[in-house]
Symmetry: C2
Subunit: 258 residues, 2 copies
């Protein structure tokens, strides 16, 4: 038989057969006078065996082990291992599909946030909050999406619980919005602008105890953390001053600004 014939017989491509030769999985047959490979039954048997193994999902190196390591024990071992591996993959796919399902529901409901796939809790919260028109509010949205995908799930849930009133209580929402507008106004202000102090105070006042607790824990880490710096750099100087005061007030032992 020539390579195309044996390949068709085994249901693979000639290219695959040559590949198996290259890897040493399948012995090279003798050549015909014209240089063509000339396969016999034993090659067909070997090739069929390789194909059966690869169809199970074994990698070619593992196939080689099974073929080499003289039969019996090794195979069962490899199969067991493979099954574990497939089980893991299946679980991973299941998980992704579960999350996809949620997202597809959001998409059909039209509540899929433009920021991409977020946790369902945050997606809901943001969709309630949404287009406030304030640049500062937009930044906070971004910060929330970051936190959403970065902190461990339980911290995130506590944060979301703490924020929910801001979306559900119209009066509170209005107050926060007004504060955002005042923060926006500081975009071109200097760092000694007299509006900074009062605004920070009012921000602190509007934040509930629960949030204060949350920040307290994360804070000393986050102020040192480079991300804290980057976040401040993201604001105009006067705005950053407000945020610094705000965070300092929420931290339990308010050490200085830097």
């Amino acid at each position: 038989m020539r390579i195309g014939e044996i390949a068709a017989l085994a249901g693979v491509t000639p290219r695959a057969v040559r590949h198996y030769h290259h890897l040493g999985l399948l012995p090279e047959p003798d050549r015909l006078p014209n240089g063509y490979r000339d396969y016999g039954v034993r090659h067909a048997v070997a090739l069929a065996r390789i194909r059966r193994l690869t169809e199970l999902g074994l990698g070619l190196p593992e196939v080689r082990d099974v073929l080499a390591d003289d039969e019996g024990r090794e195979l069962a071992e490899v199969l067991e291992e493979l099954d574990q591996d497939l089980a893991r993959q299946e679980a991973a796919i299941e998980e992704r599909r579960a999350r996809l399902k949620l997202l597809l529901e959001q998409a059909r409901a039209g509540t899929l946030p433009a920021e991409g796939p977020l946790s369902p809790g945050l997606a809901e919260l943001l969709s309630a909050f949404s287009p406030s028109g304030s640049a500062s509010a937009a930044k906070d949205r971004e910060h929330l999406t970051l936190i959403d995908s970065m902190v461990p799930a339980e911290d995130r849930d506590r944060l979301l619980d703490a924020l929910r009133p801001f979306a559900e209580d119209p009066e509170l929402t209005a107050r926060v919005h007004a504060l955002y507008v005042r923060l926006d106004a500081l975009v071109d202000a200097k760092e000694d602008d007299p509006r900074i102090g009062p605004l920070a105070d009012e921000l602190v006042a509007v934040v509930p105890e629960s949030l204060s607790g949350l920040f307290a824990g994360a804070d000393e880490a986050s102020r040192e953390h480079p991300f804290g710096q980057a976040m401040l750099d993201d604001f105009a100087p006067a705005q950053a001053a407000v945020v610094r005061k705000f965070m300092a007030a929420l931290a339990p032992k308010g050490r200085g600004t830097q």
Copy 2:
């Protein structure tokens, strides 16, 4: 932030971040005077978004599409497609695992054939037949394993049904074994050996109608087919002569040997 910091923040490696730059998924930030990349919040936001998408299983080119193609519609579309794809993968894994389960049971029962994973039916049949000590019988085993993994499932089942009596009926088994021994004896015989004719006749006699029917269909194809030649080449000349006579007798319109 430097690259290691933003990478840790997003839960990826610096290498992955550079890779995203390379692919144009993530804009290159400004550089510090020392040449280090200097990331801000917007990069962190973008990176987190990329990571959320890749975690769902999207490929990087698709991530790029979603990021580029201005939001909303495209994402849902890609997610739908991805879900289909994952469903397919899951089904494939399920199937493999089902087959693995059978094999692992065989392995635990000690009936796992040395030839590797075969169809359960053939595995059972071979385990009943097994070590006959005849070289010709061993070849037939090989041919069976080949057929097992090559023909469509229904043909295979018919063949197995037809062969089952040979394993289950001890008297029949003994007769076949005797014939194999006589075939073995021809290994060094010439092509005009007088034992050839009678042996072929007795082989034909022992084969039940059902098998004859099977061969009839597959035969004219298989004699022309290169595999038929290879199979004959696998036998010694006198043995091949027996097989040729045998097959010719089973074929409906027994056209000559070649």
